[in-house]
Structures are given as structure tokens and as C-alpha cells.
Amino acid sequence: MFVTRSLPEMRVIIKELSRRRQMFRSSRSAARIPPAVKPMLHASIGFSLLHLFALCGAIASFQMHGTSAMVAAADPATTPDLSPRVAGFERYHGALLGDATDEEDDRQPVDELALGRLLAGELNCSACHAASGEWKAALLPKQAPRLTQVAQRVRPDWLLKYLKDPHAAKPGTTMPHLLGSLSETDREAAALALTHFLASKSPITNNFVDRGLVNRGVNTFSKVGCVACHNLPQENAVDWKTSVSLSHVSEKYTVESLSRFIKDPHEARPAARMPNLNLKDEEVREIAAWFFRDITLPSNLKFDYFEGTWSNLPDFAALKPVQQGETSGFDVELAPRNSNYGIVFHGTIKVPTSGEYQFWITSDDGSRLKIDGQTVVTMDGIHPAQTSNAKRKLEAGEHPIAVEFFQQGGGAELRVEVQGHKLSRRALESLLVPLPSTNKGATEQAAQLFEVEDNLAAKGRELFTSLNCAACHEYKIGDETLKPAQQAKTLASLDLLKGCLSENVTGPSANYRLRKDQQTAIQQALTALKEAAASPDALAALGSGKSKIHQTMLAFNCYACHQRGEYGGAEAIRDAAFETTMKEMGDEGRLPPSLNGVGDKLRDDWLQKLLNEGANTRQNYMLTRMPRYGTNAIGHLKDHFIASDRRPEPAPDSIPQFTEPEYRVKAAGRHMVGGNSLSCIKCHDFGQYPSIGIRAINLASMHSRLREDWFVRYLANPQEYRPGTRMPAAWPFGTTSLPDLLGGKPDLQIRAVWLYLQDGEKAAVPAGLVREPIELVATTGPLVYRNFIEGAGSRGIGVAFPEHVNFAWDANDMRLAMIWHGAFIDASRHWGGRGQGFTGPSGDDVLSFPAGRPIAFLKDTNEAWPEGLAREQGFRFQGYSVTPATSSGSPQSTTFRFTTGSLEVSDEIAAKKMDPNDPTIDLTRTLSIKPAASKGTSPEGTPLFRLLKAKKIEREVTSGTSQGSTGTFLIDGLWKITIRPLDGVNPADPLIRASGDQQELLLPLGDGKSATGWQIQYIW
């Protein structure tokens, strides 16, 4: 049914499509694709009848199924869609490409024929229907999973369920329902026989799942890029139409087999649609654990539960258990109370190989691990979670174990771990043998009970070939690969309205449960292929160049992450899943790069490496990684990218030549990259040195990734290559801000940067990266440093005296926070880069004083000191004054002033001594307190000044009395403090009192109505 339409008519149709699509557009209205970039649609076929055909198909299917956006937004309550799900098709079928916000809507329909080819390739039509190499090149058929090792990967109960109805068991599967046209009895029998053929004689069952990994698994799954193709890892997550469903995973795999699969998906699935994310073992285990978070396992431990109060592990054998039972794992939460109990777990571990193993036991409170009746490791006593470990040689085989545990109060925790002989450190539960008598974990028990029957397996093997399973799935017995029994018509000679594409598919045709729009798309694409086959060039063009790139990016869902031309980039629904650790980089920091011009940008070897191995070069900011697809799968992209994108190399004589020797050119390059010139290192890391600002991609990696010609053009105009990039144009319009360097010639300057970067990590480090200390030294008078001071808060005021005594005042709490000797502070953290973080004292003998308000009004001396920041409790900082040393000999000092609301306090701190005969220089503090001029109501109670808090405060007895307001105190037996009232005031005696397990030294401040004060000397 070819309908020809005039161009104006088509325009109306496109407008209408656009209008409807707008109605269903998600809230994201940002246009990520610059409107200037228009796709090369049907580059090889040209704008022909085929194009119109595709358009009509698009409209027809639009009316039937709506756009992918509509399907995604459909009410989940409607009947489940069992049709195969291919992300590229679901995303782009019926869509329009371009900037919808353009005043004039000149958007184009997608290349629907490519989408039809995509389906034909992903459904692997050419596995049964022989096709020529050219056809296959245009279709990119997806090889089905290898089944030779399926028994080690997939559970038998799942195999049975899946074979009975693949689409129901795994929504969106691209596997056809081959048993669909059999009677129910025959289908059951066939599925069972196939299961017995495929399943192993030693069935796989689930093992212990470390609960601690589950939460981390959610995080890892969300961050590393899984969400580009799969739904969010949440209970009841929205099932996006462009997602490969994972709802069946916990039924299909075990936690171990899933881990093996994620670690290397391509062993089982050589088609590599599921990429290898190059995950660490730990990440793999986390992700797998999340899928098995709800698994119920058979019991593997017996327990005896005791009640009692102990401070060390009791002799449980002498005690009578309150309760006994069976459980899975060392679960202390089975105790019905939170404190004063004990549990002994008994079980058997199966040691895989003989050798030395290390055991850890972590507990709160005490615990002990025994193996073969012998104590291996003990963590006794009352404590927060603490770990102890020991090694022990064990023979392969089963060993009885016991774990004793007691809990007194507070938190309760117990963890036992093992490592050794190919076992990475893991929970000991993973070695436990399930108890024979239990009703828990029925599924696992059933799987264990599955036994392969040889006659059924033989029947299954027959079916595997006769049903043509072998056409798609590789299955080897020894060196022999099973062959499909039936030979279908060739793809080129098919009647496209019959067989697998007919309205009602019957055996032996494969029932893919295609939707009508999918059927139509395949029919149109294959029709077009037949037409193209008439002209070999047209057919060849489909399997090469831009068309091949597009087909590959659709099939491998590269578009889920990467934009190229008008296709791809993160879908709006998944956009938020692409995260960054460097928010300031904006989208550049979180979204994988556009692939526009990638063949021009990257070196051949790097391109090959990326396609083959993946990469993680943006790991300092981008959480998503480029996964490994493998050369076999997508290696062909390299040549196509290069052929399609790369600009011709400039003629050698057009490249400017340096007149300076190379070492001088490199020095110029280094200078420009460094912090005293163009400051590339403000944003970019360099080798092992992190940048001082955001951590953009490593400069020392440029030479291994980029091409010189591209680099030179890019630096001259970054916006042309990365629209919207934050990378500034350092040579705008071919001008330079460095007229004195290399003759002020911008092209030479850029090439000098390139030449310098060729040395990679071996290049001399550019200036400004290595933070050199900036030690502040007081020379004549007090030196002040206000900043984020570790130990003195965000409003820290550090003061150094030339005598090398220092202190830090905390203007949030109005308190002396620290005193120390020697060097003052290194300002380089705050005075280099952006100045992130806190800096503590550089010197020695640092004494810290308690946080919180320094003055409180207590009703009696038993009242606890109030908590919280002083500035939150009505205290106001009023500033400070600095008194330099004067010729008259008056000492230098700083005086801080604050008000409590009713009292005004002046706190003068000086480097001087109270006793002129004392040779040591210490800090002397003069506290002057008077009622505030404009005071409100005085709080009730007695005003007290908290001088310090320490483990032990002892008053020195010198003249036979430990009384009086003047005296010396020994603090923690280490240092001294001397106090005396200011002249003319006569306050009450200082007070030492307990505060928790510490002591406080409090100075009375009279009645709060008259002036009072103290002088304090710190001798340390």
C-alpha cells in the first residue's frame, strides 16, 4: 500500500504529529540538541517513496499505539504488554527529531526503516531465515545467549516457567514463544523435557545474602549506569517502556550465578547488548545482593537463647536456655528483648579446600567463635562494635561451629566473617550447610530437590533441535554444536504477511508476540531491504558509514547515554539518574559526552580501546562509566566514526613551525597550563595532582586520547565542539592574552600546550598545583587569622604572638577554643584554590577547651551546663581590639568583647606572665565582666564562667589551705592553670564539680549586678 503524498501534505502531517507529541511531552522542555544539527536521513536511499512509506507507517502506528512517550505514560493498570521490548524502537518509533521550540517547526520524522531493521536484527530473524552478508550487515543480528553453560547460570524452576510462556515470565523478552501453538499438555511436556535437557544434575540454589550489601547495591546500581537501560532499583519502580525489565532476575539466577553474569555478561551473551561495566567484585556482589534482598533461605543454624546479666561471656553450657530453635544466619534480633541476654548458635560449615583461613568476629557486646569445639577467636566484654580476628588451618569438608554471644545494654551487633583460599572476605554464613529439617525457604528446597531424568533430557535434546532452538542458541556437547533441524525460507524470499509476521502465528513459525506497529515496521524495513538489494550499492550503504553507526547505536542502545546527531542523549525520564560528584560542572559533569565528531576528536587507538574495553576517565566527576562492549560487538564503529567524522589532516606545510628548541616550547606550554598563566589546572587534574577547583578530565591523559589536529581546533573554539561547555576560549577569535609568549602567535601557543602535554604524566608538573605551605609568623605584634579553624569553628579567630604562643577564639561560642605553642597556622589551604575546609594549628602542645557557652546562670551547682552554641542563646559577639607592643613596655594583647544579654564581657588575652620573675612566657587572660548597659531582665541563678573541662582537676595546696579565690590547679596531672580575682573584686571561690565522667572548673561571677573579673594564667 504505497500512498504518495505531496510535500505540503507531509508538512501538515508532521505538524499534526508534532502537536500531539507536544501534548504528551514530559516536563522536560530543554532542547539538548542544537537545532543546527540535522540528521542525514536515509542518506543512501534518498528521499524516495521509501521515505513516504516509512512516514505513513509512522502515522498508522501512531494512531494505533501512539508515540513511545505515550506508551511510557500509559496507565499501568491496562493489560500488560507482552511484546518484545527493544529500547531504540520504543523510544523513537513515531517520534520527530529536532527542537520543538523552534518558531518554525521543521522537525523531521525518524528513520523508521532503521527502526524496522533494528527489530529484525534484535529478534534475530536471520538465524532461521538465511540472509546474505550484506543483509546481515544492515540488520546487525543479535546472537541469542549461549546455553552450553546455562545449567550453571539459571535455575531449573525458572527454565520451566520461562519455556512455558517466555513473554509472561520475562516481560519484553525478544525470545519467541516456540511452544505457543502446542496444546497445553504438549507444551507442559515439551517445556519439562527441555528443562531436563538444559538443567544441571547438581542444581544451583541460593546461598546466604549479606544484608549489609543490599543498600549499597541500590546505590551502585543507580550510579554506575545500569539505569540507562533498566528501571530504577526501587520497590514498585515505574516500568519504563524503554527499559529492559529485571523483574524476573531473582527467580532466574542465584546470587552467585547473577554475580558471575554481571561480572562478565559476554560469556553467556556474546551479542553484548548487555555491556560489561567493568565493576569491581565488591560492586558486583552489592548489585546481586539487592536483587536477592527478599530471599528466604532454609535454616542453617540452631540456637539456644539465654537471659541474664553478664559483663563477660558466661559458661553457657552450665546455663539452661530459655528458648531453642532454628534460624538463618547469626541473627541477634531473634532475641525478644534488647538487653541482658545471650545466644549460642550451632551449625556446620563446609570448607571448600584445605588450607589456612582467617576469621573475624565483630560484636557489641561480647562474642566467641568455636570450630570443631575449639575456640578460634574471642571478642569478649562490654563494648561498642569491635572486631577481633585469628587464623586457623582447616581441612576441606564439614566442620561443626558454634558462635556465642551476649548482650548487656545499648546496641547489639554480631558479624562473623571468613577469608582464605580463593574466598574473598565474606560472611561466614556463606559456608553454612542448610539444616535438613525445615519448612523455611520452600523454593530453595524445591530447586534442590530437582533431579534430572535422563529420558526426559534426551527428549529435550531432540526438541532443542527440532523446534529450532539451536538456530539461535549455541549449545555444545563436547566439540559438537547442536544444529537446528529446520531450514526456513531465506529472508530475501519471505512473504512478509505470513509466518512469524502473520496475524495469528502458528507453529512452526516463531511467535514473538509482536505488536501491530512492530510487525508493520519489520515488514516495511524488509520490503525496503528487498528493494535496496536490487541496487548493490544501496544495500552496501545500509551496512556501512553513517547508516551503520546509527544502526549500531540503536542496537546497543548507545543512544541511552550518548547523543549523536539528532538522536540520543539521556531520556528525560532517566535524566536524573545520571549524577555527578561535581555539581558545579553542570550537565558536562554528569552526562556522557556527545559523540558528534568523535571520530575526529579521538585517536584511533583510544577509540578502539574505548569500544573494546570501556573507560572511566571521567571518574572524578561522572558516576556513569563507559562500559565494555568488545571489539567483536562494536569494534566496527571505529572505522565508521573515523570515515564519517574526521577532517583531513592539515597539509604539513600549513602547520606552523617553532623556531625555538623543543625544550623551550614545552616550557612555554607548561607555563600556559600553570596557575600563573592560562590556569588550565584551575579545573583540570594533572597526573596524580588534583586540580585546585573542579576536577575536570586529567590533562596528563590528553595525549593518549586526543588527536593533535582536533586539539588545536578545539582550544581555539571550545564552543564549536562542545556547545555550552564551561571550558573557556583562551584564544578568542584567534587572539592571545599572552603577547610575549612564542611571538604572541596563538596557533604556536596552542601547539606548545599540545607538545608539552605529549609527555603525559612524565611532564614537569605545572605551577600552582602543588600546595606550598604558607606558614603565618607573627613578627612585631599579634597576628590575627580569621577563617575556618579546625577546633575553633567557622568563625575562628587565630592569634599568634611573636613569643610563639598562640590561641584560637571561637566567635560562634564566645570562647577561647585552643591554645598552643610553636608554629601558628598554615594558611595554604584557605589561600590556595577555593579555600575549602578547616585548618588546625601548625604548632605543638595544643590544648582544647569545651565547646558551648562560656557563661551560664545556674540555679544550683548541680545543674548541668547548658548545651548548644552560644550565639544561638542570646550571646552576641562584639568584636575585638588589638594592642601592639609599645615602647612604654605595655604588653601586646587582643581583647575580645561579647555580651550574654545581661552581662558585658571583655576577654583580654596576652602573651605575658603574672609573675614577672617567671621565665616562661605563657598566656594570661583577663576577664572583665560588668552588667550590660542596656540590659533586659537578668536571668535567674548565679552567673558562672566555665574555664575548662578535664578528666581530673586538682587544686594545688601550697600554703596549708585549699580554700580562697586565688590558687593553682593541676589539670589531668599534666599542666597548670593559675587564677586570681581582679583587683578590687572579691568573688566566691572557684568551683570544681563533676560533669559526666569529667570535671569542670567554674569561676563565680558575683551576683551579675556589679563589675567583677578574674585573671587566668595558662602554664602548659
Binding site: 516536563s27 530543554a30 532542547a31 539538548r32 537545532p35 543546527a36 527542537d99 521550540t101 523552534d102 518558531e103 558545579e584 560542572m585 553542570g586 577532517r647 592539515p650 597539509a651 600549513s654 600563573n676 590556569s679 579545573c683 585546585i692 577547583g693 588545536v712 581546533r713 581555539a716 573554539n717 564552543q719 564549536e720 556547545p723 555550552g724 564551561r726 583562551a730 578568542p732 577569535f733 584567534g734 587572539t735 592574552s737 599572552l738 603577547p739 597576628l783 587569622y785 580569621r786 577563617n787 567557622s794 568563625r795 566567635a811 594558611a827 589561600w831 584554590g833 577555593r834 579555600g835 575549602q836 575546609g837 550565639r871 562584639q878 568584636g879 575585638y880 581590639s881 588589638v882 601592639p884
Partner: protein, 511 residues
């Protein structure tokens, strides 16, 4: 995409590209902004010279704020917490400049104002009054006037302080924590501190300011930077009681009863004016600085009150850009009681990243710079530059006023009526930026305007452009490459960017 043949020298083709007037509109689409360096700066230097002020030896003078004292000295505060007094900066020969340190140990001073023999310094944590009580020329009294906002130790929690307003207030704009969220009290707010030392919460919605300053009417403005809820950098008016864009700090409304109830949150992905029509408390940006075209990090603000000593642009606002090391020029007008207007390139080539701007009593513009932590085109790590009007008037667009059916341009010098009267001499496109919670925005909603008439007024200075398809809510980017002065010169800066929030007489469409 404009591709450059690789077989010819890259920069040769760039020059050709520049020379070809027909491609001039393409420059903007490349997002290069106005040329910042040697070539154009040399042209600008004919009218405005830029001289580096010699700095004290061995001092890292990363300029945070500037203020002139009654005795003619220039006070310069630094990110390292020092304050220096320079004398001789108004002399023709800058080499005689003398420096003396007035204070040290302060916390990144980004605001200086002089009053009553005292220097008021806005530090990260407080507004302080500094005095020299013993007369030795060095501050000894550091009085805390107000420290009511919180800081939690995040480097991004900057505080920029204004000069005194007519009522004697100092306004302080407080950057968000990490420039993304408001972790402690009043991050993301503007407060104004009265002569009584009391801070009044004044506006919410601040993200990451780069400077603050008043216009000739005394209305306060600040610059905010590209990031969440800021599709591009902007000059924003601070009308007391209003919310100016980033909702991160709105949780502190409960601590600011004078501000009334917390406004409705804007819808992410919307447009500035769509939300302005919906949220009465929201004051949209007065002038958007299109990203890359005008700059990347808008900074200090100074109003030309020199009475003509600085050339023709009296009473206009001058705004720095830290990344591009430039000074931009802003024309503001009030439509329906709200400020909007145009920005123009003015002067490029400052020594470091432009941060603080200050006019001197003699009518020069001083620009202090730093590029620590954030790179700049100006290669020096820190600098102080003096921009001086040579007395020659550049041929530039002086004012760009919106009219119901177009724009009224006022040129700094008389135009050639033939070229200026030809609609073909002008090109206009419009676009805006997404108002969204994620970082920045591309230009969106592109449209092209048709200039149907260009009428030159009798004075030869004004040209009325009648324009079809004006897009309220969008930046209107005008290129007047074809316009010549009466003397036949091309415009020094042919580009102008008018933020058309409101058309006169056309109320906001509530959607």
C-alpha cells in the same frame, strides 16, 4: 556548524571570518562572545585606556573590594583578609603609587564602605567597623556590627557587601552553601543592616553572587551566576520583600516574619516570565548576560556618577565578568514598575578575573581582580587596573529602550542616516534560558525578528527600529553591523542584548 578548513591556517580563516560582515551574525551562534583580547582591546583602548596599577611588592593582592576614602586614598581589601590603602592611584603616573597596610587577619573581605572616619568591611561572617584609634595608620579596633547570618565552613558561603544606601544601610548578599543549598540560616538571602546594627531580611532567592551595587536611583542590584535556577548569569534587582530566583533558601522565611509567607516554589523547567506571572513575590532577572556571549561569571557593579568624567554613559551600571576579564555596560529602564534592559560589551582585557569595580572621584573606573579557584582570561593571578576615558567618544549604542513595536536606539555619536536608516543594517534574534533546578541552561525558544523600519531621528543620535515578532520573556540579541557613524566608522561593539521581560502596555500573560 561553521567549519574551518583544516588546510588553511586556523587563524587566517578566523580573521577572514571576522572580516566577512555577512557572517557576523554567525559569531553569536558560536557563542564566542565579544572578542576579549589584543585586537579588540586595542580598539577599545582608543577610547578607554586600561593601565595596571603597580602593586605592593611581595603581597598577594587578590582584590575583593574597593573604596575611595575622603583623603583620596584607595582602600583595597583582599581575599587573604588584608586591607591596603593606596595613594597616588589618581595621578597620571601610576608608578608613584604608595601602599600601606591598614588591616590584616580578616575573613575574605568582599565589601568596603567608608563612613564617619570608619571603614566598614563585609567579611564572610560579619559586617565590621574598623577604626584606627591610636592614630598609627593601622586599624586596632574591629567592631562587629552584625553577624546574624550563619556560616558552616563551606568555601562557597561568600558574603558580598554594598556601599551605604540613602538610609545608611549596608546590603549583604549571601551565597548558598556550596552554591547549591541553604544549609544554615540565611544562606541564599540578602539582608540589609541599618545604622542601628540590626539586620533586616530583605530578599530571598540568591544563588551565587558576584557583586552588589546601587543604580542612580539608589535601588540595589546584585549579580548572580549561572547554575541551578540561573540559566545564565544575570543582573538582578533586589526589591525588599521579593524572591529573586533560587528557592533553596526559602526555608528561612519562618525566621523572617517581615517578609510575609513563603512564596510558592517555581516550577523547574519553566521560564522566568511564566513563573513571574504566577508567583507575585518573584522578581525575574533585570538583565540576562547570555552565557559565553557576554561572559561566564558576572561580578562587581559600579554606577557611573562621575558627571561625565567617564564619558557618555552617565548613570549607567558597569558590571564585571570574572572569567572573561571584562567590564560590561548595562542600560536599565522601568517597565510596569520593574527593571529590565540591555547589556553591551564595554572593555575587555583586565589583568586578572574582574571582581570589584569602583569609580574614583576623578572619574576613572578601577577594576580589582583575582582568578584564584576560578580561572580567567586575564592571565595574572591578581591585578588592579585603572580604566580611563581618553576623551574620545566611541561609536556605540548608548541606550536601547523598548517600545511597544520595537526598540529605540540612542547612539553615542551621530549616525550615518543611510546605513542607520536601513533595516538591513540590523539583525535580531531572540531566545531565553530554562528556569530550572538543574545547572545552567542552553539557549531555548529561538525566534527571529523582522526589522521592518529603521527611522533616524533629526538629532542623528536616535534610531527607532520597528520590529515584528517581539518575544516578551526572551533576550533580544541585536547585531547592528551595518550601521556607520556620520564619520563612517563601524560600531565598536555591534552587539546588544536586551532582556525583554515586559513589553510596555502589555500585561503579563498568566498561564
Amino acid at each position: 556548524m561553521n567549519s574551518i578548513p583544516a588546510t588553511t591556517s586556523l587563524f587566517q580563516s578566523m580573521k577572514r571570518f571576522l572580516a566577512g560582515g555577512i557572517l557576523a551574525i554567525g559569531l553569536a551562534s558560536l557563542g564566542l562572545g565579544w572578542a576579549n583580547t589584543a585586537a579588540i582591546a586595542a580598539d577599545e583602548a582608543t577610547y578607554y585606556t586600561l593601565e595596571a596599577v603597580p602593586l605592593p611588592k611581595d603581597v598577594v593582592l587578590e582584590v575583593g573590594a574597593l573604596e575611595f576614602l575622603p583623603d583620596g586614598k584607595l582602600a583595597v581589601s583582599t581575599r587573604r583578609g588584608e586591607i591596603w590603602f593606596a595613594s597616588g592611584t589618581e595621578d597620571q603616573d601610576l608608578s608613584k603609587t604608595q601602599w600601606k597596610r591598614f588591616a590584616e587577619g580578616l575573613h575574605e573581605v568582599l565589601g568596603l564602605a567608608w563612613k564617619d572616619n570608619s571603614l566598614y568591611a563585609t567579611q564572610r561572617g560579619e559586617l565590621s567597623r574598623l577604626r584606627d584609634l591610636n592614630g598609627d595608620g593601622v586599624a586596632d579596633e574591629f567592631e562587629t556590627i552584625n553577624d546574624s547570618w550563619h556560616i558552616n565552613g563551606d568555601y562557597h558561603e561568600y558574603a558580598f557587601g554594598s556601599k551605604f544606601d540613602k538610609e545608611g544601610n549596608i546590603w549583604v548578599v549571601l551565597c548558598l552553601t556550596g552554591s547549591f543549598s541553604s544549609e544554615v540560616k540565611f544562606r541564599g538571602w540578602c539582608v540589609r543592616i541599618g545604622p542601628d546594627g540590626v539586620a533586616v531580611p530583605t530578599c530571598s532567592g540568591i544563588r551565587s553572587p558576584g557583586g552588589i551595587g546601587a543604580n542612580v536611583e539608589g535601588d540595589m542590584f546584585y549579580t548572580d551566576n549561572q547554575g541551578p535556577w540561573n540559566g545564565t548569569c544575570a543582573l538582578k534587582h533586589l526589591p525588599p520583600g521579593k524572591f529573586v530566583g533560587h528557592p533553596g533558601g526559602n526555608k528561612w522565611y519562618e525566621n523572617a516574619p517581615n517578609m510575609g509567607p513563603k512564596p510558592q516554589d517555581p516550577l523547574s523547567g519553566s521560564r522566568f516570565m511564566t513563573e513571574a506571572a504566577k508567583i507575585p513575590e518573584y522578581e525575574p532577572p533585570a538583565i540576562l548576560f547570555p552565557y559565553q556571549k557576554m561572559g561566564q561569571s558576572a561580578s562587581g557593579i559600579a554606577c557611573d556618577l562621575t558627571g561625565g568624567k567617564f564619558g557618555p554613559y552617565q548613570e549607567q551600571l558597569f558590571v564585571g565578568d570574572q572569567t572573561h576579564s571584562t567590564v560590561m555596560r548595562c542600560f536599565l529602564e522601568k517597565i510596569d514598575g520593574h527593571y529590565q534592559g540591555a547589556c553591551f560589551p564595554f572593555r575587555s582585557g583586565t589583568g586578572s578575573g574582574s571582581l570589584a569595580l569602583q569609580f574614583s572621584p576623578q572619574g576613572d573606573l578601577f577594576v580589582g581582580g583575582t582568578n584564584r579557584g576560578w580561572g580567567s582570561r586575564g592571565p595574572k593571578p591578581f591585578a588592579l587596573d585603572r580604566i580611563h576615558w581618553t576623551g574620545k567618544t566611541p561609536f556605540d549604542i548608548h541606550k536601547m529602550e523598548v517600545q511597544p513595536d520595537g526598540f529605540l536606539l540612542t547612539f553615542a555619536k551621530p549616525v550615518d542616516p543611510n546605513s542607520a536608516g536601513n533595516p538591513e543594517s540590523y539583525k535580531m534574534t531572540s531566545y531565553t534560558f530554562i528556569y530550572q533546578s538543574s545547572y545552567g541552561s542552553p539557549e531555548v525558544d529561538h525566534a527571529t525578528q523582522k526589522i521592518t523600519r529603521a527611522e533616524v531621528a533629526a538629532d542623528g543620535l536616535k534610531v527607532k527600529l520597528t520590529i515584528e515578532n517581539l518575544q516578551p520573556g526572551s533576550v533580544h540579541e541585536l547585531h547592528s553591523d551595518g550601521v556607520k557613524s556620520a564619520d563612517g566608522e563601524p560600531l565598536l561593539h555591534p552587539e546588544a542584548y536586551y532582556t525583554l521581560n515586559r513589553l510596555p502596555g502589555q500585561p503579563l500573560a498568566t498561564k
